[in-house]
């Protein structure tokens, strides 16, 4: 066990830091959920990252990456969050679909999709959930009917993040009409501007548009757009979800930087704070650290050839609960000002905490609800009967 950085790792950190200092926009970009303008500003940032070959440092060079290992990815993320760089508008693509494509895609598919994903030219949404298929994802009803070299897609997807402005979606469709549950599903890509696709924005808890319904009516796509074999969709989705929950979706740096801001907030209000607030601040720091340490342990294991296992589920529960506690603590420090909107003259930095608090409440729901994760831990990790 060696918990110090090598010269190469230190040099890499310095390189990332220098680039971020020179390139991160000085003012925050407008939200990518609220307007096309904000979305495109984030796309421009993705392009800039790609020009510096910073889009996905773990990817092979052929797809715009640097072929670096997961520890270096963590260093990159630490510097990224430290610099206060914009949120990744293409996270569904680069963090979820990308790694899955690399594992299951054909060479032609990788060539077609990965570079444009890394460059931000094509921004992706995930179209799995349906009104009747939430936690019970195997209940999907949307269909993909095979016609010659094409699939014809029909159905109703929902809660698709960033689908309002995104270019492409990867969806789960029933391609074997005689099948049920986990069998006969396929993962198929479709352009969100294809004929027969209608995207209906859904306002979120804070009033902003963050996700959307997608109605598909005889949408024709080439069979080339299917990832993996026909009927292999479920196992591919579970691999994607494992990566999502387990590692990429929430890098620890996000919470460590939030914990740092929380400590600053506490200091600014210390005289008004109750002793339990101090304890809660320390707990947030410790939890963010524990998460970081755990991810470093996982990364080391994966580098040595291990596979992501049940930690996908334990991680997801831990970071989502930590995020809520951290933001609740911030709101308790803000006291009476916690309810203020960003626009209120007395708000100061409050709006940011409130946004973060609302979003933290979604953490235990998306990427597989925490109750479902607890079932998985109990059955697969502890071996309790179904």
């Amino acid at each position: 066990m060696d918990l110090t950085y090598s010269h190469t790792e230190k040099a890499f950190r310095a390189e990332v830091r220098a680039w971020m200092e020179a390139n991160v926009p000085s003012a925050p970009l407008p939200s990518f959920d609220a307007s096309r303008e904000g979305f495109e500003a984030h796309r421009a940032w993705e392009r800039k990252l790609a020009e510096g070959r910073w889009g996905m440092v773990t990817w092979p060079q052929a797809y715009g990456g640097r072929a670096l290992n997961l520890i270096q990815w963590l260093i990159f993320e630490e510097e990224y969050w430290r610099a206060g760089a914009p949120l990744r508008v293409n996270q569904n693509g680069i963090f979820l679909l990308g790694p899955t494509l690399m594992e299951y895609g054909t060479e032609e598919q990788k060539t077609r999709f990965l570079s444009r994903m890394a460059s931000g030219d094509e921004i992706w949404a995930q179209a799995w959930s349906e009104p009747q298929a939430g936690s019970d994802l195997a209940a999907v009803r949307a269909t993909g009917r095979r016609e010659g070299d094409d699939y014809v897609l029909d159905g109703h997807k929902i809660w698709s993040s960033r689908a309002v402005f995104a270019d492409w979606a990867f969806g789960l469709f029933r391609t074997d009409p005689a099948s049920g549950r986990h069998k006969g599903l396929s993962l198929i890509f479709f352009p969100l501007d294809a004929a027969g696709v209608r995207v209906q924005p859904i306002p979120q808890i804070d009033g902003e548009t963050g996700f959307a319904e997608i109605f598909l009516d005889d949408v024709r796509v080439p069979a080339f757009n299917r990832l993996g074999e026909d009927g292999q969709g479920w196992s591919i989705c579970m691999a994607t979800a494992g990566f999502e929950r387990g590692l990429m979706l929430r890098s620890p740096a996000r919470f460590q930087m939030a914990a740092k801001r929380l400590v600053d907030l506490y200091r600014a209000h210390e005289p008004e704070c109750a002793p339990e607030t101090r304890a809660a601040v320390l707990q947030s720091f410790m939890d963010a650290e524990a998460y970081a340490l755990s991810i470093h342990a996982t990364a080391s294991r994966l580098i040595a050839g291990g596979h992501i296992g049940a930690e996908a589920s334990t991680n997801k529960i831990f970071w989502s609960e930590l995020d809520i506690q951290l933001h609740r603590t911030a709101l308790s420090i803000l006291g009476a000002r916690a309810e203020l909107m960003r626009s209120a003259p007395a708000a100061g930095d409050v709006g940011r905490w409130l946004d973060g608090y609302f979003f933290s409440l979604a953490g235990p729901i998306y990427a597989g609800s925490n109750e479902i994760q607890k079932n998985i831990i109990a059955e697969r990790m502890l071996g309790l009967p179904r």
Binding site: M1, Y5, R82, K260, R278, S300, E311, L382, L384, P385
Partner: protein
């Protein structure tokens, strides 16, 4: 950066686990309790036979020259087994402290005897209200304001303080005989501080082991016990209780392991990490043991089921080598007086120079 144990480290831990699985089952604990003995000679001989006493003593003094990372998994295994014998206190804390003071001839002689397995050494440290295993120890290392003294067995009156944990033998010292310290306060300072950190770290590791044991006992029972025609472990309420505990354990473990890897840094960062490890493992053990009682129903409230051994050990260790409040303040010292941020996870004072 590599957050993995070496094969050798895992193999040593596996060997200890295997030995304890053979010789330290709850039935063995109950037998020991019935005869009222402090130690199981067969088990203790087997453990000392592995050469573990000198694990943390430098090679040139006859030890194995290992570090905290090498020993942390062993301490975890001792917690998991509920080991009554003082392997952790003797090999993990007292003997490396003694080795650090071996410039003194009395200390050096005692160290040789302890490495040979003839005696164990107990440490009386101001962080602990009591001295564990003082009656069976060949000598006591007593940390006081004026330095560290060495008291031979029998030279000091001991008052037994009964612990709820039947396997903890706690004592207070009746009267301290006047004894010249083997090291003065300033000379011994670094060694004493390190002994405290080892105490806190290895206590955390034991708590982690206890937590996992409590979950494992509860899982085994939940698979067996049927109600309403099904194993209780198939009910979601039971599953979720146990998953919740397992999550706590998963996020205490890497903190304990990182704390071991950084212990030797002996700075504000490493101390905060040790304290964090203590807090996280303590909370995991507390929740795990209470949950295990609940999952067992009335059985869990009985003397017959083994859960209470672990519950009591967790309770006892909760304030051993520093209580929660003390450890939270060490975390606070790092949080409020040292740089924070995503790039500071593996910070050390050496790296900051």
């Amino acid at each position: 950066m590599d957050f993995r144990f070496t094969e050798e480290q895992t193999m040593t831990a596996e060997a200890v686990k295997g030995l304890l699985a053979d010789l330290c089952q709850p039935a063995d604990l109950r037998r020991l309790m019935q005869v009222g003995a402090a130690r199981d000679d067969r088990r203790w001989t087997a453990l000392t036979g592995m050469g573990l006493a000198g694990a943390l003593v430098p090679e040139e003094m006859g030890g194995l020259g290992l570090g905290a990372v090498d020993f942390v998994l062993v301490a975890e295994a001792c917690g998991y087994a509920g080991l009554p014998e003082p392997l952790v206190e003797n090999a993990g804390i007292s003997l490396p402290l003694l080795a650090a003071l071996a410039a003194d001839r009395r200390a050096a002689t005692l160290l040789d005897r302890a490495l040979a397995g003839d005696v164990t050494v107990a440490t009386a440290h101001p962080a602990n209200l009591f001295v564990a295993e003082a009656d069976n120890a060949g000598a006591l290392l007593v940390v006081r304001d004026d330095g560290v003294s060495l008291l031979e067995a029998g030279s000091v009156g001991l008052v037994r303080q009964d612990s709820v944990d039947p396997f903890r033998r706690l004592f207070t010292l009746a009267a301290m005989p006047a004894a010249a310290p083997v090291a003065g306060a300033s000379d011994a300072r670094a060694a004493v501080d390190l002994a405290f950190d080892r105490g806190a770290l290895f206590t955390a590791a034991q708590l982690l082991g206890i937590a996992q044991r409590a979950v494992d006992l509860a899982v085994a029972y939940a698979k067996e016990r049927q109600q309403f025609g099904k194993p209780i472990g198939s009910y979601q309420a039971v599953k979720h209780m146990l998953s919740t505990v397992q999550v706590r354990i998963e996020f205490a473990r890497p903190v304990v392991h990182a704390a071991a890897a950084q212990l030797a840094n002996a700075d504000a960062f490493s101390r905060a990490r040790i304290s964090h490890a203590r807090l996280a493992a303590g909370e995991a053990a507390d929740l795990a043991c209470r949950t295990a009682v609940q999952v067992h129903g009335a059985m869990g409230y009985s003397w017959e089921v083994d859960v209470h051994f672990f519950l009591k050990r967790a309770l006892a260790l909760a304030s051993w080598w520093g209580d929660a409040r003390f450890h939270r303040e060490r975390v606070a010292a790092r949080v409020f007086d040292r740089p924070l941020g995503a790039d500071q996870t593996f910070a050390s004072e050496a790296a900051h120079d």
